[in-house]
C-alpha cells in the first residue's frame, strides 16, 4: 500500500509534506509541550549565525489586518550553543522528522564560514539539510538584502555549496521584481532546491505617535495576507524550472492553503506564523491533508504540481438547479 502522505523534496525523504518554518519553531524543542516533534515531516531551525545575536530593539512585532510584521533581527544563540545545548536534545525527540538548519551571515564570506562549521559538526548535529537564509541585511553593502542582489546572492550560495555536501535549499526573498532568476541562480550554483517565500517588506505607522510602530521602522510581513504571493511564486518557479524541488512557504494556516501550494508545484510546505497563534497549526494542516487525500483516494505525490497539468483539471460542476 502506498503511504498517501509520504513524499520527497529533492533528496529528502519525508514522512509527510508538512514542515515547521524557520523563525517560528525555535530550534525544534519549543513545541514539545503541545505535540511530539516526530509528528512532522520536518522542521527548520531558527536562523543561526556563527556568533550569537541579540536582535533588534522593541517593538519587534505589529499586527496587520491578516498577518503580522516582524523585525526580530535574526536573534539567535549562535552556532556553538546550538550544537552544544539544543541539537542533542532535539535529535532525541525528532524520530523521522527531518532537521534542516537555517544559516545566515552578514556577508557572502560569512555564509561560507558558517556552512563550513555545519559541515564540520554535521555528525554531532545530525541535520539532514541546510536552508540558506539570504534575506538578512548585508552589512558590507550598507544593509541591502543579500537575497535581492544578484551578485551577492550567487556568491553566498556558491560559498555554502563549496563548504558542504549537505543538501542545500535556498530560501528566496519575494522582495524582487522576479523570483525566477534567483531560483535559477540557486540551481546553477548547486542548490538541491529552493524555499519560497520569505517575508515581504512592510511598515505600519502609529498615527497617534506619528512614527513607525516597529523599533526598526520596517519589518517583514507574514501570515495569511501573503498566501497568494507565495502561491504565485511557487507556481512561476515550478513552471520555469520543473525539476527544481520546492518548499512552499507563506501564509499557510489551513490545510486548504497547503493544498494550494502543493498544487502550484511545491513538493512540501512549511507552516510558519500560524504556529504563533495556534500551536497546533502544523498538526492540523497535516490532519486536513490526510483527510482530503483519503477522501479523494489520492496521495501527496499525485497532487504536487496538479495545477500545471491541464489534463488533470476537474470538470466544472454541472448546474442542475
Amino acid at each position: 500500500m502506498v503511504d498517501r502522505l509520504a513524499t520527497k523534496c529533492g533528496p529528502l525523504e519525508l514522512a509527510n509534506p508538512v514542515l515547521a518554518a524557520s523563525g517560528t519553531f525555535g530550534y525544534g524543542d519549543s513545541f514539545e509541550r503541545f505535540w511530539p516533534l516526530e509528528t512532522l515531516g520536518g522542521f527548520v531551525t531558527k536562523t543561526l549565525f556563527l556568533a550569537p545575536r541579540d536582535g533588534n530593539p522593541a517593538p519587534r512585532i505589529a499586527e496587520t489586518s491578516a498577518g503580522m510584521l516582524n523585525s526580530i533581527g535574526l536573534a539567535n544563540v549562535g552556532w556553538e550553543a546550538f550544537v552544544r545545548e539544543k541539537a542533542p536534545r532535539v535529535n532525541a525527540l525528532r524520530g523521522s522528522a527531518r532537521m534542516l538548519v537555517n544559516i545566515a551571515g552578514n556577508s557572502p564570506e560569512e555564509f561560507g564560514e558558517i556552512a563550513a562549521r555545519v559541515e564540520a559538526d554535521r555528525e554531532a548535529v545530525g541535520c539532514d539539510a541546510i536552508e540558506v537564509n539570504v534575506s538578512c541585511p548585508n552589512v558590507k553593502e550598507g544593509g541591502t538584502n543579500i537575497g535581492c542582489h544578484p551578485g551577492q546572492f550567487r556568491d553566498a550560495v556558491a560559498r555554502v555549496r563549496a563548504a558542504t555536501t549537505l543538501p542545500m535549499f535556498v530560501k528566496l526573498s519575494p522582495n524582487v521584481a522576479d523570483v525566477v532568476p534567483f531560483a535559477r541562480a540557486a540551481a546553477e550554483e548547486g542548490a538541491e532546491g529552493v524555499s519560497l517565500i520569505n517575508t515581504l517588506y512592510g511598515m505600519q505607522i502609529d498615527t497617534e505617535l506619528r512614527r513607525p510602530v516597529l523599533g526598526t521602522g520596517s519589518g517583514g510581513l507574514s501570515g495569511p495576507a501573503i498566501l497568494p504571493v507565495g502561491v504565485h511564486w511557487v507556481y512561476k518557479v515550478r513552471a520555469a524550472l520543473p525539476e527544481l524541488p520546492i518548499f512552499g512557504i507563506g501564509g499557510i494556516s489551513t490545510w486548504q492553503a497547503a493544498l494550494q501550494y502543493l498544487m502550484a508545484g511545491a513538493d512540501a510546505v512549511q507552516v510558519g506564523t500560524a504556529s504563533f497563534v495556534d500551536p497546533n497549526a502544523c498538526r492540523e494542516v497535516l490532519a486536513g491533508l490526510d483527510r482530503w487525500c483519503a477522501m479523494r483516494n489520492t496521495s501527496i505525490g499525485e497532487i504536487v504540481g496538479a495545477a500545471h497539468r491541464v489534463g488533470e483539471r476537474a470538470e466544472e460542476p454541472v448546474w442542475t438547479g
Partner: protein, 267 residues
Amino acid sequence: MSQDAVRTLPLVEVEDVAAGTYWLRFALPAGLDCEPGHFFMLSAPSAGGAATMGAPFLGRPLSIGDVAGGRLHFLVRALGRATAWFRSLPSGTPLRLVGPLGRPFALPERPVHRMVAGGIGLAPFFYLARRLRHRQPAARIELLYGERTADAHARLAGPERDLFDLVERCTDDGSLGQPGTVVGMLDGPFEDAGAAWYACGPQPMLRALAARLESMGVEGAQFSLEERMACGFGVCQACIVPRRDPPPAYRLLCMEGPVVDPREVAW
C-alpha cells in the same frame, strides 16, 4: 505543561466594572493547574483568525485575573483592536486559550503582602490575593491601586474586595481617593521594606516604583511586566525586556517572565 495546553472554551460572560474595563469569564476547565501570575494567549479559534468576522489575527497575552466559583476570570481593558473585540463577544463565543504560560509569582512567607497596581495592572492581584489568603491566613494583604480618573477605577464586588485587608485608591486628578500616583502613596505608612512587594502597571509607573523600592532597600520585589508577543511560549522572540546585566542584551518575557525581579531590568 501538559499536551492539553491549547483549549477552545466558550465565553461565559463579559461584565463591565469600569469605563472600558471588564471581566471576561470562562468555565474553569477540569484539571487546569495554574498559579497567580501565569498568563494565557487568547485568540479566535479558527486557524489564522480569518474565518471569524472582526477577529484580530494574533492572540493576546492576558494574565489570570482570578480562579474562583468554577470560573477562569480575566480582567481586561479595551485599549486596542483585540481587547475591544473580546468585549463585543456574546456569551457562548468560543475562544482559543493557550496556557497557562510564563513564570508565575513566588509566594514568600511574609507578615504583609503589598500589591501596587496601576490601571489595568490590577488584573493579576485577585488570584494572587486568593492564593496568599489560602496559604497564609494570618498575613495582611494590601492593595494600592491607582487610576488616572475616578471613572476608570474598577468596582470591586464584595467577595473581590474581601480578598484584601486594605484597599487604598488614588487618582492622578484627585477625583477619587488620594490625589497623585500609586508610587506617591508610598510616602508614609507603606515604607516598610519587610513586606513582600508585588507590582503591575504601565512602564513609567514600574520604573519609578523600581527606583523607589531600591532606595528603600526592598529585596525580592516581583513585577509583572507586559510586552507585545505573538506566541507566548518562546518562539516569536518579540517580547524582549532589556537586562541590567548584559550579555545577552534581552530576556524573553514569555519564558523568563512575566513576573521578574525589577533589579534585573534595565529600566
